[in-house]
Symmetry: D3
């Protein structure tokens, strides 16, 4: 764990996770956890008749792994405030390898003056450098003690 105050974050900073290959196992486990057994994820025969021709990962799975990939060292001064503008511009197929890029996009005032809102832009990128998920992650971060 490492304390980082609101002041120490610099807009424009970027970090990128390692890659992770999305497997059939991930999709089957995610269906079992979410209870979502829609044919888009579970029925390879039906998928063959659809535009994408194959099974695709659940949106909640891409969000789960994408956000999970950003988990690094804990900053006890920060906590998640919420997420905005979550989009899935491209599907994720079995065998795709994704990594997550986090960019400090913005720093906003917060109603309590001892904290600020930090906006991280999260982008999940596949092996073709296509963005398959994007969202803004809002964190409440403590300011430096005066």
């Amino acid at each position: 764990m490492k304390n980082i105050t609101f002041e120490e974050f610099a807009v424009g900073t970027t970090r990128t996770s390692g890659g992770r290959t999305i497997t059939e196992t991930d999709i089957v486990l995610h269906a079992g956890q979410s209870g979502d057994f829609y044919p888009h994820h579970m029925d390879a025969e039906w998928c063959r008749t659809q535009p994408f021709k194959q099974r695709i990962a659940h949106g909640t799975l891409v969000f789960t792994i994408g956000v999970g990939q950003t988990a690094g060292e804990i900053n006890p001064l920060a906590m998640t405030y919420g997420y905005e503008r979550l989009r899935f511009p491209k599907p994720v197929f079995i065998g795709d390898t994704i990594r997550t890029r986090v960019t400090i996009a913005e720093k906003r005032e917060y109603k309590r003056p001892d904290h600020g809102i930090l906006v991280e832009k999260i982008e999940v990128i596949n092996q073709h450098n296509e963005c398959v998920m994007a969202c803004d992650h809002l964190l409440l971060v403590k300011r430096r003690d005066l």
Copy 2:
């Protein structure tokens, strides 16, 4: 599967899922899927020293199960456009039972005139009738053929 056009959705309509108890198993499996082994979810000893005194579910787990609970009959005319304003106003503890309420909140024009944007308000509610997660789910829905 059942086709429902944009016109057929009525703002204000609400449906609520059945309940599901969040278990230690869900959290352990979700850590394994997301790769997020933060002590908030995995270290009961450390949690005892924190304000909540116990392990809490991952935000991505609450989102996964909450959204999963809305999966009912498939509407081939609708697809997810994205999510907005995702918030986690209360923590979810092991043993809490959650259900999901979906309200048709708004209908918006879309740039392509044969589709509209449907806004579902998703609220995940615990056994104390507290909201533990809320977001807007945006769907792109086909309009009736003219």
Copy 3:
């Protein structure tokens, strides 16, 4: 949930579930749950020397998923009495897609006059329209109040 009395069931009625592709993951998870690691399910090398040439799903896995696919809306007036004549006429291989067809096959008297026995014929069908599992599901269903 929706109450349906014994009188409301009509012999000959049929419903069919969506499809689900049986994956290697399902078999590995089922071995882990059942404790059955027989080479028919787990040893691809040995299977190559056998008539089927490949790994096959556990019978209990096909039963679990087949029966699971019949789970729809809950009828609080019905409960499982048992199963009869469970058979596995064809093997299920990794990559097969199965769906379940339920036919109301028979209505029988029960010793308590306020209930009847409903016999559902359950058939699990693969992508070649072959029956891979069949059984009779006996349900105890409350009759209409007089």
Copy 4:
């Protein structure tokens, strides 16, 4: 593996497996595999309002583990023909410990004279010595070569 011919089985022989405690984990995993998230298994709040007061194991889970507990040494001369009279006389709760007793109950002629039908009575017993599942397991077993 060990070859045992039809002639070598003696009606009345009994063997009993070790015990296994049914956990909340087993139920959550089984819901995920079967897709059956009925409140009887998953909603502790709702269960509290029901006669049993607590969550119960899926029938297909008890069958899966009960049959799995009978898996010992492989007899290449025998294969499952089917199951009859599957019943669940008592519910299985989280924390119950079950073991499986197999009794050679009957030997029947088969249409092909080089095989016979062996009937194993399978009984799953809990820690109170109550039977929670019973069925007849029919096996097709090769006769001794003449």
Copy 5:
């Protein structure tokens, strides 16, 4: 369970387990249990740039399954004392089939005269008859009562 005293073990005795095919599922589940998401196991793209060209099983997974394959009948007179010289001479790839050979390698005196140390040599072998894991398993075994 079957009691076997220290005296009854004969140096040189060997037994070999059945085979088990290591699947992508095993690796994904093991990452989830261990928390080790290193790219060697999880990132197929990165692996393609490495000498082995493909994902490899975790050492702890090979140890888990290899040791698990030795689990047969319980000997209440024996307990694990430890493991020595654990080595992984070859990688295990997805689709490899492994079996475990156990050889009674040595019998040693123990400081308490009513027990001895039994050394089992454990070798995990793949489908090409290559050793992929080896170790010495030390067991504390009770001697015959005098």
Copy 6:
């Protein structure tokens, strides 16, 4: 990833992981992965009759999680050579919280002069500060280029 040469490791250096609570889920999943369903791990009734009175974690589970907890940043110059003197001085019970301490214990010459053998002492510690697992982890580490 970060390159660290053999020369840069200093004997005596110690690092300690965060904690992780061992759950019933971990044990059930590990039984399913290893195929080891021994009553010590799976049968709470039987365990009540034994000295420890409760279920204990598999040794391979403690090794898997203990070693997994040491996984931090990747050092491309180092690879596992093997493990020595693996011992389990105390059992791990459900609900125990473990962390792993790694100490650089020794640096040894290797037959190839461009590498050295680094010995890490791994100790898994429970919430009572008792050591529940210990071993020596041998790594082959590249020396600085001359």
